[in-house]
Symmetry: C2
Subunit: 292 residues, 2 copies
């Protein structure tokens, strides 16, 4: 089965795109975090979202999620590792499955950070963004997981079932809950390199913390950020600086692939993201209708 | 006094721009109908506005108006007849007053209709869009008012105090309430022309109605639509077809003048309009900050 539209991301742009896709009777899949937008949830108050005065970020995020539920729109809470532009459709690697969609709307925000030195060069060759996808490749080997949110602990635990050793480096504060076999260490990743036929992750102490520079060698380094940089997620996607380049219909350089929300550029605002999600869904629907 | 921003229009784009301008501590004026967007009010249900599920158009419009009131943002319910780009600021003719603003955000929608044949050529020379503005020019003369909403009856009544005769042509259904001296006739305006030194309005019967073609001659023909075509409102404003041409920051070809909402093009959607209003306000704020 091929979906009409795959919407990646569950922030305001993704929610808006999903609501409009539903209105247009499209067969679509909404993939992202079931808890919506981490960024909005952490916002104290939102004062300029039209229609919901003086709303807390948490309440606004919940209003979006409730509306999806009321509209009968489910969220597929999985990680999209890759989006490949095929001949007239797209193949998405979603955890370890592959799904097909005629169009894609990318709304993955900006929380992908800057790549570490050495990261891009070694991606797919000792650096991975998806433990679930690549675990089978590292059976009985040593791996390192850099987790940018507590959610990634499950990925590290999953790896510990097949790898000979897993080292976990949390990039957040608070308690880490992992099987005893997983070693947890503290440090700030500064670069990745190939050394002695293995991958090496170089670490520095956090600002203000005691400690020395050190490194860990392993067969694979998993860098698990909240989202993957759009040009890494979609090979061939054209950027404009750090943002995805779109026209006013939210079309990217890849026919059938649209983008909306913070990842298309400033301003990083909820209403702007929702508006763009709406436009992207209508543009995707028009693109589909033209091909009939 | 010169305003930082003049926002014209009180639909979702204007409301969104005003909320964000307020957030940015700008000194702004919001000009438009105190009852918000006629188009939204007439919409039965809105199913894809993120945050407000299955809301009636009337309730959504009211939510926008309530939010303005809660935020302490007043609406100046007057007609903007012209916006002139000056050297580094704008002069707006608002009814019979002139106000100045460093930037302008145009959110006047698409309800300006197509011009009648002969309308553009005679604008300002026997055709007018503003009775309040031009009444003094036609003291003791005969005038015709084509009113596109019951609101315009007040304009015709006002003209009847100074003109020797006023003929009123309602473009809507329902009871017309006017002073006895105003003649009310039914018909569909088809063109405007100069004839025998006067202006002539040619009328046809409405589709399906009895009657013959006729014409009325007068010194001035007032065409009072809900809004004025953007390039008539702002001389020099660049269009793209019937829409105002903007870039992704909602900037037009006139520095300091931004546009948002339906008048910038399809899709005609509430969330898209709100998003663009948000972007326009931020772009206007950045424009102002740069000039400091």
């Amino acid at each position: 089965m091929r979906y009409d539209i795959a919407i990646i991301g569950t922030g305001p742009a993704g929610v808006s795109a999903a609501l409009t896709a539903k209105n247009r009777n499209k067969n679509f899949l909404l993939i992202g975090s079931r808890s919506g937008s981490e960024k909005i949830r952490k916002t104290h108050m939102v004062l300029n979202y039209p229609g919901l005065p003086d709303v807390s970020g948490e309440a606004l995020n919940q209003a979006f999620l409730d509306q999806l539920q009321d509209a009968g729109i489910g969220i597929t809470d999985k990680r999209v590792a890759n989006v490949y532009a095929m001949d007239g459709y797209f193949t998405l690697q979603v955890d370890r499955d592959f799904i097909e969609a005629s169009t894609v709307i990318l709304t993955t925000g900006t929380s992908f950070g800057r790549p570490l030195p050495g990261e891009n060069e070694n991606l797919g060759r000792g650096v991975s963004y998806c433990a679930t996808c690549d675990a089978p490749l590292y059976k009985g080997k040593e791996t390192v997981v850099v987790g940018y949110s507590p959610k990634e602990e499950a990925e590290a635990a999953f790896l510990s079932e097949t790898c000979s050793k897993v080292t976990y480096i949390p990039m957040y504060k608070g308690k880490v809950r992992l099987p005893e076999s997983v070693e947890v260490i503290s440090g700030r990743p500064v670069s990745v390199e190939k050394a002695d036929g293995k991958m090496r992750l170089n670490l520095a102490p956090f600002a203000g913390a005691e400690g020395e520079e050190r490194h860990i060698d392993a067969s694979c380094i998993f860098l698990l950020r909240e989202s993957v940089a759009p040009d890494k997620l979609v090979p061939g996607l054209q950027l404009d600086g750090n943002h995805v380049k779109t026209d006013r219909s939210m079309a990217t350089n890849l026919p059938g692939l649209f983008a909306a929300g913070d990842l298309t550029g400033l301003p990083y605002q909820i209403s702007k993201a929702a508006g763009e999600g709406n436009i992207a869904a209508i543009s995707a629907a028009q693109y589909l209708d033209k091909r009939k």
